[in-house]
Structure formats: structure tokens, C-alpha cells
Symmetry: C2
Subunit: 216 residues, 2 copies
């Protein structure tokens, strides 16, 4: 059980010496924070964590050898309670999402001020997910429902939607027909129409489109 006076132990993984040491200095010289390690590669950091894992890791993405994203995945596997905050210059969707998928719970840009960074570390440690504002916006935007109909996509009828749903679950024509108590030929006809409207040529393509559309 920790209390107010327990400093947050922080490790830095960053290959550029100057940045790494600057961060370590900032952290160790701040009240309530304890820099317990600064490493120039993910491999070295992981090695050191075997002895003592930190509360929080500031992780660069562009590292020599194992990337910061890969390292995050490994870290979270071995030490699930370690909180990883990506600290990087990248703000492309791909890196953001792969980082979060890997288990990072914070994602801040390197242009963050020292004060804000310390604040973010402490937020992370308290169970929040600090993100630079542009990052947060990107994350939130992935939730926005896609417009009712994609350009050029004709809407499906009720019955077609129904059949598409079953199709996506892998049911055979025969099974769909039985479920809906209609003939298999009817099912085939509906599916033809679905394919034409969705511009696909196989059930798999249709299913993938459907799943992407429904599961956000």
C-alpha cells in the first residue's frame, strides 16, 4: 500500500543521451518522483527491470533494436502493473494505436513542458491516461460512428441486413434458410443483392465490411 510520501519510481527508455539524461535529471530532482533507471535500449531496460520494475516507464518509440512498441508489449506481459507512457514525436494514427494496443496507457508528445510531464506521470500513476490533446482527439475520433451510408453504397433492406448478419457469423446458406424459415434459393438471391450493393464478390469480404461497420 503506497501513501502520499512514496515517490513514484520512473524509468526512462530513450536512445538520445541528452534527452535521456535531461529527463532523468528532471524526474530525480522533482519532489515525489524517483528516477530509478535510464536506458538507451529496450533490451537493457528489460534486463534491469528483472531486478526492480518501476511504477512508470517513459518509453521512446524510435529505439535502436527492439522498438518501443514491441518493448511495451513485452513489458506488459511480464509486469502487467507497470504503467507505460509513450514519449515521442510521432503522432500518426498507426503508431498511436499500435502503442495503445501494446498496452501503453499514456501517450504524450516530446514537446510537453517539464511541468506538464511530471503532472502526466502522476496522472498515469493514479490510474489515468494522459495524452497530449491532439492525441486524445485522434483516439476519440476513432469512435465516431461512420456516416450512415458510405459514398456509393446502396442501403440494404431489412431482410438483407438480417441475412448479412448471419452470413458474417459463418452460417451456411442452408442454415440461414432454416433459421429464417425461407428457402435456400431465397437466401441465395438476397446474398446476390447484398454483394452487388456492397461491391464485394465473396461472403468473406462482405463479412469483414460488416464487422468493421458494426464493431465500431
Amino acid at each position: 500500500m503506497s501513501n502520499d510520501t512514496d515517490p513514484i519510481s520512473v524509468a526512462v527508455v530513450e536512445d538520445v543521451t541528452q534527452v535521456r539524461e535531461g529527463l532523468a535529471l528532471l524526474i530525480s530532482s522533482s519532489d515525489g518522483f524517483d528516477a530509478i533507471g535510464a536506458y538507451d535500449s529496450a533490451e537493457r531496460a528489460i534486463e534491469a527491470f528483472a531486478t526492480r520494475p518501476p511504477d512508470v516507464v517513459l518509453m521512446d518509440i524510435g529505439l535502436p533494436g527492439m522498438s518501443g512498441i514491441e518493448a511495451t508489449r513485452l513489458l506488459k506481459e511480464r509486469w502487467p502493473s507497470v504503467q507505460v507512457m509513450m514519449l515521442t514525436v510521432y503522432e500518426d494514427d498507426d503508431r498511436i494505436f499500435r502503442s495503445l494496443q501494446a498496452g501503453a496507457t499514456g501517450y504524450v508528445l516530446k514537446n510537453t513542458s517539464p511541468t506538464d510531464l511530471l503532472h502526466d506521470i502522476s496522472t498515469l500513476n493514479r490510474g489515468g491516461s494522459p495524452m497530449s490533446s491532439s492525441i486524445a482527439r485522434r483516439v476519440v475520433e476513432t469512435f465516431h460512428a461512420t456516416p450512415p451510408s458510405e459514398p456509393g453504397e446502396e442501403p440494404l433492406t431489412k431482410r438483407e441486413e438480417e441475412i448479412l448478419a448471419l452470413l458474417s457469423e459463418g452460417f451456411r446458406y442452408r442454415e440461414i434458410a432454416d433459421k429464417l424459415t425461407i428457402g435456400i434459393e431465397t437466401v441465395r438471391t438476397h446474398i446476390h443483392h447484398i454483394y452487388r450493393k456492397m461491391h464485394v464478390r465473396s461472403r468473406t469480404e462482405a463479412a469483414v465490411k460488416y464487422v468493421r461497420r458494426t464493431s465500431r
Copy 2:
């Protein structure tokens, strides 16, 4: 083109009079903010926006009549540039995600301090996505990849993963074989292994599992 001196116009939608007026007072009495309206229902707010939509809307969720989430959807449809921030006591996943899907770009809890709230409004207006820290964490957690292996799921080899990805895009065996410059029989063998490991019996089932796993 706005500049530093243009106040951010804010509307409040909140059915509890005391809260509504408190917010309006806070906003109108703060530098850089302009309370242009406070409404006790979504319907009334929408009516008023026809005359002048605000930059930012603080939206309660639990409203009489149309819910704040429904209202957000409508608002974003008619005035896409309006920034909606949910301001609520709820922090269940369902309300959070439905709000974000509806187009909200901020989600803060009502226990937020006045200072922080003003800061959040301004962050929202600058293109960020302010979220209370517990909310941000929930949002981020939805990105976490499902544990490396679901119970009873054997891991796929590199080659199998590769083929599964192509399979999910709807490529035929022949096309996959050509892309990877291997024989079609090899493709078939890999796919058999994939199906066995994933406990599925068709490419569609495999594709759906794959898509759900990768696209969050």
C-alpha cells in the same frame, strides 16, 4: 479566423436549474468565455442553435425528453463544427462510448473543478479532447489487444498470420499463393492449420475473428 481575444461561445444544456445557472455564471464571468445560452432540454437548445450555434456545448446526459447523447448526434449532424463536451456523473462504458460515437469530443465528470472545466473547454475549442482521467483510461483500455492467446487458442506461426491476413481480405487461395510465391497446396495446408488452431470451419469465421482481434 479567430484570435486570442475572441471569446469562446459556450452553451449549456442541463436540466437542473441550479447546476445550469452555476455553469452559465462561471462561464460568463470568466475571461475568454462567453455563455450564449443555457437550456433545460435538448429540444430547446437545438431550437436556439438554429439562430446561433455556439463554439462549444456542455451537454448533460440525463435530460428529460431527448437524451444528451441523442441530442449530440443531432447537433453534430446539423452543425458539424460545434464541439460537444459531455458533462455528466456517469462513467459507465456504455454511456461513454455511445457519447463518443454520437460525436462528442470531450467527456468530463461533474466533479471537475471550475478551473479545470474552463481549461477543458478551451482545450476542446483548440482541437483537443479533454477527458477526466478515469474516462481517458477506459477509452484507452478498449484499445488493448486481447490477451496474446484467448483461452484454448493456440498461437499462429508467422506464416499463418500472414496468410490469415490475406485470407481476411478475401483473396483466393490462388491469389495468396501468387502473392507469397508459394504453391497453392501450401496455402491450403496453412489454412487447414489456421482453422484447426482457431477452432473455425470457414474462412469467414476466421476472418471475422481476425478482424475483431486486430481492429480492436
